[in-house]
């Protein structure tokens, strides 16, 4: 089959970067499989328990960039105990032992330790990039090790991690010789920062394009940093609160005007609204704005800002912007592709929140919208139908009514028809999260129309097993299904057990599946790990097959039951 030498094939394969395509290439024939596997540089492992580090290294010894995901998605919402699993240390250890030339490690929802970070820093000479998202278990000591030992570090990106801040001088640990930083994000750190060390670091990093500061970095430090780094493309502001009559503030005004490359702004973890005009000069070139962590900016100030951001493609905001504010977004940001509206008062009275009106306005003004996360006080079928009509390009559609079973607020009907319209209109929909009062009918629509759907999140929805069956039968491409507090039981679970091998994982909590049902499933499908999380009665429930299961997480795997599960997690 091969008319060309291996090197030529490899060169050709270099142009194929998507992992899906590479996987397809490796299935063509044995020699392509061999060539591809030695030339694969980036590996993505969506579930760290689906495969072992040894097998990864055996197949892809030349891997340079590894992405790993640990805990199931619902761990984000406190539904999974902290020590459930997702330990990254064994992976680092195995990679180090096999002398893999690791350059990049991207982790999501994993347990990372200082030892692990230190091991990375000492084992991989060319290590360049560390991205940690929603991880925990480490402290600033681990960061100090990375800073000190990774001589060619380009990227240190910490997103929403729970980090124990030892108030050490980890920023000082970057040696004077470290000049390679391109991206530094420590916004999630809570402790004090050595401003002088930070300024010096920025001063010697001419390639720095992205910098996201923590709350502890005051406005005057920000000003000094921006003087050194006017080339920044992405800035996360820490504290933005100062006397507007002061010299510092005036200096900041001039400095910001020089930041002509700025395209993305975020942070404002502490902000005085009257300081916001300082960023007006750069608004017109911004493509991404994240104010979802900025507390207490009144809607009127937000709109003053957003009105100027006519090139915005991505906007993350708090719901205190209100429906009227969203109307301003709709009329100002015609290029908007992604919108996320977060609740500013999740358990509160809801006089802040947004309603269906805001969403409809957005759909009218922003036809390019393809990704939505919307926390709202109420929704209607009529509104969803209008949105479906105006925005057929949705790839991600996640709607969350603050009351999880709230019906259509004008007709008191379930929201089945509204979501039905969305799946019917948005033929490219890959991710969907539902909320509000929903019956089996919405799942019928989803099964019928959501052909590209890969991830579905269900909460407090449906009437019977039929609902879940519609999804399992209809959605051919579904990979991740997560369900909570819905009346789906063994009948749905067991109807088509082979389906789960085509999926990454299934989560069901507070549903009607019983221990017996899960045992049956586990028995039939040896290549699935069926895990039961039972924190309350550890010993008791083991015997009663009729008992409903509190939390079940199942996933396909090539390496059998994991050995690191805590004692309240049973693999059946």
């Amino acid at each position: 089959m091969n008319y060309f030498p291996d090197e030529v094939m490899e060169h050709v394969f270099d142009f194929v970067t998507s992992n899906l395509d590479r996987n397809a290439i490796s299935l063509v024939c044995k020699s392509w499989y061999r060539i591809e596997r030695f030339s694969r540089r980036r590996v993505f492992i969506g579930n760290c328990y689906a495969i072992s580090p040894e097998r990864l290294i055996a197949r892809f010894p030349g891997v340079k960039s590894l992405t790993l995901k640990g805990k199931p998605h619902f761990a984000d919402f406190n539904l999974v105990p902290h020590d459930w699993g997702g330990f990254v240390y064994p992976w680092i250890e195995a990679l180090a032992r096999s002398r893999v030339n690791l350059e990049e490690l991207r982790l999501k929802r994993m347990l990372v330790t200082d030892d692990g970070l230190e091991l990375i820093s000492r084992s991989f000479v060319n290590f360049k990039s560390l991205v940690l998202v929603s991880c925990e278990g480490f402290t600033t000591d681990g960061l100090a090790a990375i800073a000190a030992n990774c001589r060619f570090l380009r990227e240190l990106d910490l997103q929403e991690n729970e980090v124990d801040d030892h108030r050490g001088q980890w920023l000082n640990c970057f040696p004077e010789s470290c000049t390679s930083l391109v991206s530094l994000n420590f916004a999630c750190l809570k402790g004090d920062i050595n401003s002088a060390a930070l300024e010096r670091l920025v001063a010697r990093s001419p390639n720095l394009k992205s910098l996201r500061l923590s709350r502890a970095v005051p406005l005057d430090t920000l000003q000094k940093i921006l003087v050194r780094a006017p080339q920044l493309v992405d800035l996360g502001v820490g504290s933005f609160s100062h006397d507007p009559d002061s010299e510092t503030y005036n200096k900041l005004l001039t400095t910001i005007e020089k930041c002509k490359s700025m395209r993305s702004l975020s942070g404002f973890l502490e902000v005085a609204a009257y300081c916001l005009p300082a960023i007006h000069p750069i608004c017109s070139s911004l493509t991404s704005l994240n104010l979802s962590y900025a507390p207490g900016i009144p809607g009127s100030e937000l709109t003053k800002l957003i009105r100027r951001c006519r090139k915005l493609q991505r906007l993350w905001i708090l719901d205190c912007i209100g429906d009227k504010g969203l109307g301003v977004v709709a009329s100002s940001c015609r290029e908007l592709q992604e919108l996320r509206v977060f609740p500013s008062d999740p358990y509160g009275v809801g006089n802040a929140a947004v309603t269906e009106e805001g969403l409809v306005a957005i759909s009218r003004g922003c036809p390019k919208l393809n990704s939505l996360l919307y926390f709202c006080q109420q929704m209607t079928n009529a509104a969803l139908k209008i949105v479906a009509q105006n925005c057929p390009n949705f790839i991600r559609f996640r709607l969350c009514t603050l009351d999880p079973v709230k019906p259509d607020s004008s007709t008191n009907q379930p929201l089945d028809e509204g979501f039905g319209a969305i799946v019917q209109s948005c033929k490219g929909l890959r991710r969907l999260s539902l909320s509000g009062l929903l019956t089996d009918q919405v799942f019928n629509y989803i099964g019928m129309f959501a052909e590209q759907l890969e991830m579905l999140s269900i909460a407090f929805a449906g009437n019977s097993d039929k609902g879940m069956l519609y999804v399992l039968n209809g959605c051919k491409k579904i990979r991740k299904l997560e369900i909570r507090d819905s009346p789906f039981g063994n009948i749905a679970l067991l109807r088509d057990v082979g389906k789960y091998e085509t999926m990454r994982s299934l989560w069901m909590s507070s549903c009607d599946v019983t221990l017996g049902g899960c045992k049956t499933l586990a028995k039939k499908m040896p290549r699935l790990n069926v895990e039961i999380i039972n924190e309350i009665d550890e010993m008791e429930a083991c015997n009663d097959d009729g008992q409903k299961v509190e939390k079940m997480y199942l996933y396909r795997t090539l390496v059998g039951p994991r050995k690191d599960a805590p004692n309240y997690v049973w693999t059946l």
Binding site: F77, N78, Y274, F375, D403, P407, L437, D485, K548
Partner: protein
């Protein structure tokens, strides 16, 4: 656990499909279909719902059907993991709330209303902004304030909310950003009648 056969198109039978937090019979449901509500209730008890008070929770469920929330439910039953936002984000919202609540021990200012027999005192920290504060003042003194415009002040009523700033001048509320107002306000006075009109008027 079917939901009553294929008669979906005919009667929606919302009662049977609604997931309620309250006990069966505490809401206005008439025909509680068979064992479903009970079964669901039994399941509710086993779940990880943290009900503060079941009666209040069922009240919330029926109130949820109303369009307008005029009075806030006093305690909402908090469901674990709902709304689905990351703990990191939730924690940062809570720290901010806590901070604003404890940051200063209260900015107490006197409030006088022309014609009222005695003054009141309020804590400016409690309020989120001008509209929040003005509503509270309207409630406290039983009056209505007009609509604010930069040009004409408060139109539509004989009242004007004013404050004395650090320089001793009487200023109309609403012109400067809220935080600036909070730090510069020494006392409030609700003017009425011709004096009030004189302050905001262009004439």
């Amino acid at each position: 656990m079917g939901s009553g056969g294929g008669s979906y198109e005919k009667d929606l039978n919302l009662e049977a499909t609604e997931l309620r937090l309250g006990l069966p019979g505490t809401t206005s449901s008439t025909a509680a279909t068979d064992q479903e509500p009970e079964a669901r209730q039994a399941r509710n008890n086993k779940r990880s719902l943290v009900d503060r008070c079941e009666e209040e929770a069922s009240e919330d469920a029926s109130r949820a059907l109303q369009k307008d929330h005029d009075s806030a439910p006093s305690s909402k039953a908090q469901i674990v993991g709902w709304p689905p936002i990351r703990s990191y984000r939730k924690n940062s919202l809570q720290t901010k709330k806590a901070e604003t609540e404890t940051s200063s021990s209260g900015i107490y200012v006197k409030v006088s209303m022309d014609g009222a027999p005695y003054l009141r005192k309020i804590d400016l920290n409690v309020y989120k902004g001008y509209s929040n504060l003005l509503k509270a003042l309207e409630n406290m003194f039983k009056f209505t304030i007009g609509e604010y415009s930069e040009r004409e002040g408060y139109k539509g009523s004989e009242f004007a909310p004013t404050y004395e700033d650090k320089d001793g001048d009487w200023m109309l509320m609403g012109d400067v950003p809220w935080e600036m107002f909070m730090t510069s306000c020494k006392k409030l006075r609700i003017m009425r009648g011709s004096e009030a009109r004189g302050l905001g008027c262009a004439v």
